[in-house]
Structures are given as C-alpha cells and as structure tokens.
C-alpha cells in the first residue's frame, strides 16, 4: 500500500484521519487491480434477455441492453450497440450476437454504411462485420422479423425497403453477402423449411421462397387469403412454438402458420383469445383487444401469452396493455389472465425451469411475473433502457 503526498497532487484540503475508526480497522482497504473489465459467462443464464432500446431521443444511438431478469439490484449486464433502427439475432451455439445497423460517416450525413456486426456473447466486443450493399436495409421501429436466420442459423436474411422490397441473403460463416431476392408487395421474414423463408403479402397471401445452396431463389409458392388485412389484420411479430408461428390479430384472433416445410401452411381453426369464457376479446364491454408492440409470446410448453387492453378501439393496437392472457393454442382455450403493474408494451417468457414473464412497460419499467401463476415477482425499475420495445429470449 502506497501513500501519496496529497496536497501537492490535488491542492485540496485533506480530511483528518479519525484515529478511533482507524483502530477499529487497523488495515486500510486494499488497492484494487486496474484495468478491470467484467466478463460474462460463456453460456448466459436462462434468466438473461436482450431488451432493444429504440432510444427515441437519439434514434441513431439505439442499444441492446443485456438484462438479468432475476437481479433487481444489478439487472443491466452490459450494452451492445444497435445503431439507427437496428435489428438483432443471437446464436448461443456460436456464442455470437448479430446486429444489422446503419451508419453515416458524419453521424447524420455523409456516406451511408449498412452492416451486420458480429459481437462476442462473453465479452460483448465486436468480432467482425459484413457490409450490406447499397444502403437499402429496411429502417423501421424495431420488428424482429426483418432480420432472421435461415439454413440452420448459418445464414441470415435482411429485409430491404427503398420502398422497393427485397431480402438480402448473408452467409454468416463465410461473412459475405450471397444474393438478393426481390419481394414486391410482401414484407417481414419468417424462416420456413430448411433453407428458405416466407413473407406476408399485401393481398393477404403468404409467399414462400426456397433458396439453393448459393443463396439464390430456387422455388416459390403462394397461399392466398391467409389474412384479411382490412377486417382482421395480424400483428407482424408472431410467437414461435417449434416451427409454428402463432399470430394474433388486432381483434384477438389467433392464427397459426406451420413453417416447418418449404411452403408456409396456415393452420385451420383460427380462434379468439376470449374463447372459453365470457369475457369478450372484441365487441364486449370493456372492449378487450391486443395492444402494444410485442404483444404475443410463447413458453417452452407451447402456451401463448397475449398482451391485452380493455380500451380497444380503432387505432388502439399500439397503446399497450394492462393484462396478459394465457392461451393454449391446442385446446384453443384461454387458461388465465395476468394483471400487470403498468401499461405493458412488450412481453416475453424465459426458458427457465420456472419460466418468468417479462414485461417492458411504456414508462420504461421492466417487471417480472411468475409465468405459471401470473404472480408479480419483482420490478427492475426503469434501469436498463430509455425505450424498451422488443425483448429477445436467447
């Protein structure tokens, strides 16, 4: 332990030692080792999630907050850059996070660069990047299904919007762009089959593409009338149960689409989240409807969680919800209702042995409920993100 002549160094008044306290603690606290940067476990605990901070006040400086949902005192484990309407993917098997981002040479102007940045899950340091050509990446409020894996996670698909619509195919292993698939009139990317994807189209159809081993379109196929966009529009972000995407409509109808094969197959028997009891999801009083940004989630057992608001009306679908309704899509029945502590915007369920329902609220607070009982467990406060909008369970 070194002592330093302080007044020469700092020119500040040096406090007097309190000798009584010094006797109580005869040895000073030890010097601490510098530099010192925290490292994360190689495999993240299952209570950890990534929360996307859109950061409205500076959209160009979006972030991913890595959050331990079981830690009320130290929930924030670190930040990953997610610049300018970014999107993210996580590959725990490779220990990598991928962000699709947009940059300008002079912050707001100058040369535009779109790129996928590869981050190490243990250090949160960048490992490399893949430049995306032509500055056409789709920029919008965070939709998970504009940046998706395919080909067993070896490739990524990036949605483009100029406003012409297309999908860029990227080989994450070789770190290069393979090609681009035009997709006029269709939007969002739902990986389908072994190597391909499906998209929802403006005429209500679903369109499926298979890719060859060079990333070019090998075949395509369309199934008509999957949704009625005027009367029963589906939120664009589904909850996945295996290879089935469960979508919910603005009015609470649940529609499954089987994505296991090369052609997306809508499942028969759409049903309402109010099925099985008297509370109406649409047309009743109060007018319960899904509301928020990420309004549907699944758990490991295949149950669905839908964020619901009693203030349903035209245009209410992004206003957030005050309850989560738990639905069994096999029985087509609602199992329970979970009252939230605030106005939720995004929900997700962890894959822990005792799964937790994570709720990102409009006021920036993140709350945690027991997914099985619905009981409120803890709040993380507004301590991880300015504008939490999407929750990713790795």
């Amino acid at each position: 332990m070194r002592s330093i002549g302080l007044s020469l160094l700092l020119g500040a008044a040096v406090p007097q030692s309190a000798s009584a306290d010094t006797r109580k603690f005869p040895t000073p606290l030890p010097e601490e080792v510098l530099p010192n940067v925290a490292v994360l476990p190689g495999i993240w605990p299952k209570s950890w999630v990534l929360i996307h901070d859109l950061n409205f006040a500076s959209i160009l400086d979006g972030k991913l907050a890595l959050v331990d949902t079981r830690s009320a005192d130290r929930p924030l484990k670190g930040l990953v850059r997610a610049a300018q309407f970014a999107n993210e993917l996580v590959a725990p098997d490779r220990g990598e996070i991928y962000t699709a981002e947009t940059f300008y040479g002079r912050l707001t102007r100058g040369k535009r660069t779109d790129a996928i940045t590869i981050w190490d899950m243990k250090t949160l340091q960048p490992k490399g990047e893949i430049i995306l050509p032509d500055g056409k990446r789709q920029l919008s409020v965070t939709y998970p299904n504009v940046f998706q894996f395919t080909n067993g996670g070896k490739w990524a698909l990036v949605a483009n919007f100029t406003p012409a619509q297309s999908v860029t195919v990227v080989d994450l292993h070789a770190r290069k762009v393979l090609g681009e698939i035009d997709l006029p009139g269709c939007t969002q990317i739902y990986p389908s089959g072994e190597r391909g994807f499906s998209s929802l189209c403006a005429d209500g159809s679903v369109f499926s593409v298979t890719l060859d081993d060079k990333g070019q379109a090998a075949s395509s196929s369309s199934v008509a009338k999957v949704q009625d966009i005027d009367r029963q529009p589906l939120f664009g972000t589904p909850a996945m149960v295996g290879r089935t995407a469960w979508f919910v409509s603005y009015y609470g109808m649940v529609q499954g689409i089987d994505l296991s094969g090369p052609v997306a197959k809508p499942l028969p028997g759409a049903f309402s989240v109010d099925k099985g009891d008297g509370a109406k999801a649409d047309g009743g009083t109060p007018q319960w409807r899904p509301g928020g940004w990420q309004v549907i989630a699944s758990d490991a057992k295949g149950l669905l969680y839908v964020l619901m608001s009693p203030n349903g009306k035209e245009g209410s679908h992004k206003d957030g919800g005050t309850e989560v309704w738990v639905v069994d899509p096999v029985k087509k029945a609602r199992l329970s209702r979970i009252a939230l502590k605030g106005q939720g915007l995004a929900i997700a369920v962890t894959r822990e042995d005792a799964p937790q329902l994570i709720v990102a609220r409009a006021d920036g607070v993140v709350d945690v409920h027991d997914a099985a009982t619905g009981a409120f467990v803890r709040t993380l406060g507004a301590t991880v993100a300015a504008n939490p909008i999407v929750i990713t369970v790795p």
């Binding site: 409205f56 300008y104 102007r109 500055g135 409020v141 406003p163 009139g185 395509s220 966009i229 035209e314």
Partner: protein, 181 residues
Amino acid sequence: MAGFDKFAERMARGVARGTSRRSLLAWLGAGMTGTALLPALPVARASTHPDAARPEMTSGTPQDPGNPASCDYWRYCAIDGFLCSCCGGTVNSCPPGTEMSPITWIGTCTNPADGRAYIISYNDCCGVSSCGQCLCNRNEGDRPQVRPQSNNDYNWCLGTESSIYNCSVAAIVGTALDQPK
C-alpha cells in the same frame, strides 16, 4: 424470377392507381406508400420532458381548429413521430436544416370544424437527429407493415440525402370521398 414479376403485376393491379400530379400520390397509387414514423403514444409519455408544457398555438383559421403542438390536433390522427410544429417547422413545413421526404404515408382525418375527411400526408423531415420534442403517436387506420401505405412504423426518410429522422409534418393534400370512385 418470373414468378416474382407476375406477383408484382398482380399487386399493382389490385390497388387503385391515383391520378395526382404529385410524386407522393403517384407513388401511393402504385400501392407502395409507407411511413417514417415512430410508435406508441405511451412511449411518447415516457420520452417527453415533464416540464415541456408550452402555450397553445393555433392556425389562426376557424376552419382549422386546435393546437398543432398537441397530439390531439385533428390532423395527427395517424401520425407517429416528433411534431415539426415543436421543432422549428410548422404543421406542414420541415425545420431548417432538414430535407422533406418526397414520399410518405397518407392518413385520413376528420376536421371537426367542417366535418370533412381530409387526406393528410405525413412527410418526414430528414438529415438531422431526433428533434426530441412533442413525440406523438396515433394509429387510426394504421395497418401492419404488410400494407406499407397504411403503416406508420417505417422510417420514411427515403429518397432523401440522409435517412436520419428528425420530425414529421401533417399536410393537407386533398379530401377523401366516402366511397371509391
């Protein structure tokens, strides 16, 4: 791929083609309009400063009632973003230093004074970072991204030198018929 071309053709035919002399409506006619804006009224609450109260502004015209600095103003029925009226622009002009997006998402809002339904163009102002004032989100007529011309979640700073989003205007570009022609 021939299949894709055919599909695009089918799409184009399925949507009314506009006759406007303006590129933004011509583009809308082709069924490709989107928007640049941001989400969610509740988020706006979290992002707006508690001391951001400001005196009321008005258009000065009885036929255009309400406060263009308030999210409740009639033209904002489908807006999503920072109100340019609070950012150095007006209800229909961008702040200095920005560039107005040439293409845009279109909403329809009822003017409480004359009872007419107006077509409102929500153009984004681009090239300067987030204005940060008067975040407002309303979603009357908003549909999922699958219908770009009816979705206000796209960043519509397209066709501009920079895609950086600053704020949004709400300009009158026509009146709406109750029934299609």
